[in-house]
């Protein structure tokens, strides 16, 4: 178990360091997030109260599509010199490779959210009046669920020639429960705080989804590497 986490942190550290050096993935994700925010802020009048209703959806549009940009790169960057084989022939559990990739992708998306969500609130002149710890929990749980399944499927699709097209096709049906739960919980916490009990139910659903899919992906990743 110790080796599982140790190797995972080494792999995540390598990915984070690579990103620090190349600045390819997070920059692309941030540019995409910025474009979405600016486009929507010009398309809708921020002074109109009804526009507040699109903010929860926008948060997750930014998260999902920028995350896909990162997920696609996650395993493709390991194919140039068969780098992934270097990890497979080392005494590293396949689950460690998966876990390391999940940690790195999760951090990339959190960085994008950390920049884009405050920017979204500022450009839409939105004053946060809800429950901040719960909002944070929704963002973290929703993102983790999406990334844990996304990383698994990115590994699976990386063996395909058209992996960039294949990933969203495989991903969206499987992650739709967590997207629906995350959008609903975010909507309640941002603009309909009276229904907080309902938001907690959505959060519980996200918790269960994350637990089930994360464990499944962790166990099954060994077979992904065999493809």
């Amino acid at each position: 178990m110790n080796n599982l986490f140790k190797a995972a942190f080494i792999i995540a550290g390598k990915d984070l360091y690579s990103e620090w050096k190349t600045k390819q993935v997070v920059t692309t994700m941030l540019i995409f997030a910025g474009l979405v925010i600016v486009t929507f802020s010009f398309a809708f009048d921020p002074s109109n109260n009804a526009v507040r209703a699109i903010i929860p959806g926008l948060i997750w549009v930014i998260t999902i599509f920028s995350a896909i940009l990162g997920l696609n790169r996650s395993f493709l960057s390991e194919t140039k010199n068969d780098n992934l084989y270097g990890m497979i022939v080392s005494p590293t559990d396949p689950s460690s490779i998966y876990l390391g990739k999940v940690i790195a992708n999760f951090i990339f998306v959190l960085i994008v959210q950390l920049v884009s969500i405050p920017a979204l609130f500022i450009l839409f002149d939105f004053r946060f009046m809800g429950n901040f710890p719960l909002f944070l929990a929704v963002v973290v749980l929703g993102t983790f669920g999406f990334i844990s399944v996304g990383t698994f499927l990115a590994g699976l699709s990386s063996n395909s020639r058209s992996s960039e097209m294949l990933l969203p096709i495989l991903l969206f049906p499987i992650v739709s429960p967590i997207i629906i739960a995350a959008v609903q919980a975010t909507r309640i916490l941002l603009i309909d705080i009276e229904q907080i009990a309902s938001a907690i139910s959505w959060i519980q659903l996200m918790g269960v989804y994350n637990l089930v899919f994360f464990v499944l992906c962790l166990v099954l990743f060994e077979y992904v590497l065999e493809v």
Binding site: N3, A7, I10, I11, K14, Y17, S18, K21, T22, K80, N81, D82, N83, Y85, G86, M87, I88, V89, S90, P91, T92, D93, E226
Partner: protein, 219 residues
């Protein structure tokens, strides 16, 4: 089915060349031994340890040098070796990495990204990567391909030094000359089967070529 009834036993300290025509299954044997491919049936044992059950312990003993380098283009040799060294649990990994870079003659390029390296320079770092954890078993998949004379000499020196230190070496190659210079035993594979196992033969290119042609002609 690529391999059919491969039954191979190698003693500690042997240097074995695996020869055979393209598509014979030579690289597949190596990939199964290295844990890159799982065999549909059969077993691989190293010092009594089963590759499937004790893969962590077995893989710690193996150094794998494939046709591709496994190196990250944007990282420097030092960063690449430190990453792989950490995965193998090498102690004083930075020191060991610097020592190996020095040994392969690239200390001047320690901090340059490997994407700017030639095939020969890349292969030297790949050799350093394969031996960073001082493996007991070395698996080489066509290691001499595309190397200049200096890099070939360096690779052969590494192989001979590792052999003298007691490491077991398996090398898939088409280069008979290099096989003769470094190996004691020659296995010929054809159509997924071992068709000849030459031990204690004269290490002479004509002898090996003759034996090889006997087996693979009329393919």
């Amino acid at each position: 089915m690529i391999l059919r009834g491969i039954n191979l036993s190698i003693k500690k300290g042997e240097t074995v060349a695996i020869l055979g025509p393209n598509g014979a299954g030579k690289s597949t044997v190596l990939k199964i031994l290295g844990g890159l491919i799982k065999a549909s049936s059969g077993e691989v044992k190293v010092n009594g340890l089963d590759l499937k059950k004790d893969s962590y312990d077995v893989k710690r003993k193996i150094g794998f040098l494939a046709h591709n380098s496994f190196l990250y283009d944007h990282l420097t040799p030092l960063e690449n070796l430190k990453f792989f060294g950490k995965l193998y649990g090498v102690e004083n990994v930075e020191e060991r990495a610097k020592q190996l870079i020095d040994e392969v003659g690239l200390s001047f390029f320690t901090h340059d990204p490997v994407r700017s390296f030639s095939r020969g320079m890349m292969q030297r770092i790949a050799i350093a990567r394969a031996i960073i954890h001082q493996p007991e078993i070395l698996l080489f998949d066509e290691p001499h391909t595309g190397l200049d004379q200096q890099a070939i000499k360096l690779l052969n020196d590494v192989i001979l030094r590792m052999r003298d230190e007691g490491s077991t070496i398996l090398m898939v190659t088409h280069d008979f000359q290099q096989a003769i210079e470094t190996c004691d035993r020659f296995i010929i594979i054809k159509n997924g089967k071992i068709v000849d196992d030459l031990q204690n033969v004269e290490r002479n290119i004509d002898t090996i070529t003759e034996k090889y042609m006997e087996q693979v002609s009329g393919l």
